[in-house]
């Protein structure tokens, strides 16, 4: 095998991948935002005392975890317009982002649910006994404690999502991988182009990893106690 270094460096330093990289990041953030919102809804439904809501959450989870995400992507882009007589005909970017977000929402449901049940029920009970409404007890007492459990795996999912966006090449979304496929289908430099594609993904995951570390530090660290103020009040 001959490594065509000039093709490699030309591809690496071309501006071709900048917009696709931003597209990939954009899809990742929007899909994860959707997934986190769905995950909160799903987790609350899964823990609800209403059986119908629990079934709904179970159905959502079972379906979206059970069907391959590639199938879901093609469904949203190709099958939905046919199914609705073109009433719903989403652009590839939007169809793909919805598909990824809905699928990921099932995983986020489980992550958030496990965070919520990790908090001792006595915490919620004490909040309720002090006159907090259910919503306030959740927001002020349960959620801040659950977040410590929820944040690390969510960071993981973020990075997984970044890579999963490459599946959107199947519906021709101009993200990093599909941009690469367009290039190697013309110059047949498969290895050189895939190498560059990999470098872009590595760079972006490194970025997200750094972001994750930053957020985890903020949430894991207990705030330092302000001894100066207290000393002053004691004095």
């Amino acid at each position: 095998m001959v490594f065509d270094s000039s093709a490699f460096f030309e591809t690496l330093f071309s501006s071709t991948f900048i917009v696709p990289a931003l597209t990939t990041l954009g899809i990742t953030f929007v899909a994860m935002a959707l997934a986190i919102i769905l995950g909160f809804g799903g987790a609350l439904a899964a823990l609800s005392r209403h059986r119908a809501l629990r079934w709904l959450a179970q159905g959502y989870l079972g379906f979206f975890r059970g069907v391959p995400v590639l199938v879901q992507i093609v469904f949203w882009y190709n099958a939905l317009p046919v199914l609705t007589d073109n009433a719903i005909n989403l652009p590839a970017l939007i169809a793909g982002t919805i598909a990824l977000g809905l699928n990921e929402g099932a995983y986020m449901t489980e992550i958030i649910r496990s965070g919520l049940i990790s908090v001792d029920p006595g915490q919620r009970e004490a909040a309720r006994a002090l006159g907090m409404t259910k919503a306030k007890a959740m927001r002020r007492i349960v959620m801040p404690q659950a977040l410590k459990v929820i944040i690390p795996p969510t960071g993981n999912q973020f990075i997984a999502m970044l890579k999963t966006t490459s599946l959107l090449f199947a519906i021709a979304v101009p993200e990093i991988f599909s941009t690469g496929t367009n290039i190697y289908s013309q110059n047949f430099k498969y290895f050189e182009v895939l190498f560059v594609v990999s470098i872009w993904y590595l760079a972006l995951t490194a970025l997200l990893t750094a972001l994750q570390k930053m957020i985890e530090r903020r949430f894991a660290a207990r705030p330092r106690r302000n001894t100066a103020i207290l000393a002053q009040e004691h004095g």
């Binding site: 004490a126 006994a129 006159g131 907090m132 306030k136 002020r140 106690r225």
Partner: protein, 253 residues
């Protein structure tokens, strides 16, 4: 009118009936100790008073108001809105066996949280009052400690301060010393004694007989989901009339 009026309350967990028509009045300023073997329904009764548990029949009024229910035109009880029940609960303090201090907040923040969030007390004022309350339970120097940095007895005293910060008209104690190491029981009981002396209305589930004897105005004996005997502690301890009370006291004293 009694501060707490409990009339013929029934409560089931599944098929198990844990309260079988309990009636009990507690006057303002009174300290009532609920006694009974485990499974007698005393903790459940306590938890029904602030509607942490639903009831299936009968009614419970605090300061003349139903807690957790409204009565519609044909006299049936209906669950009331969460916000309405929550507002009523805000004036009923509760102290738990396992303390349940908010783990992500300091002692001081535990005490200020509900006054600021529920009663909308300005934070600076809540903070000042919280420090006074922590001082009154002997823990002002622990204000900036997290619950896991405190002993059980200290945690429970913070929990009492937290409940008192809401200026409750009634305090419910659910076995407040049962989870404590023996050497830490005294400091919590002492805090409760001082609270009782200040005139607070208290309903206390406990196995601490010395507390019942010295502090209670009335002792209520429960067995199998019913009140079987009640009276001043001196009378109930020296001359119990019900055979099950006698058996219980013989076991515990």
């Amino acid at each position: 009118m009694a501060l707490v009026e409990i009339k013929n309350v029934h409560k089931r967990f599944g098929d198990l009936e844990v309260l079988k028509g309990v009636s009990l009045n507690v006057e303002a300023g009174e300290v009532v100790v609920l006694l009974g073997a485990s499974g007698s329904g005393k903790t459940t009764l306590l938890r029904c008073i602030n509607h942490l548990e639903t009831i299936h029949d009968g009614e419970i009024k605090v300061a003349g108001e139903l807690v957790g229910y409204t009565r519609d035109k044909d006299g049936k009880l209906r669950e009331e809105k969460d916000a309405v029940t929550s507002a009523k609960r805000a004036r009923i303090g509760m102290v738990f066996q396992r303390f349940n201090l908010f783990a992500h907040l300091t002692a001081l923040e535990n005490v200020t949280e509900a006054p600021v969030q529920v009663l909308r007390v300005p934070p600076a004022e809540a903070r000042k009052r919280a420090l006074d309350l922590l001082a009154s339970v002997g823990l002002k120097d622990k204000a900036d400690h997290y619950p896991h940095e405190l002993s059980g007895g200290q945690q429970q005293r913070v929990a009492i301060a937290r409940a008192l910060a809401m200026e409750p008209r009634l305090m419910l104690f659910d076995e407040p010393t049962s989870a404590l190491d023996p050497e830490l029981v005294g400091e919590v009981l002492e805090t409760m004694r001082r609270l009782a002396a200040s005139g607070m209305t208290m309903i206390v589930v406990t196995h601490e007989m010395s507390f019942a004897r010295d502090v209670a105005d009335r002792v209520v004996m429960m067995a199998d989901g019913q009140v079987i005997e009640e009276g001043p502690p001196a009378q109930l301890f020296s001359a119990p009339s019900h055979p099950r009370t006698k058996a219980f006291l013989a076991r515990i004293l």
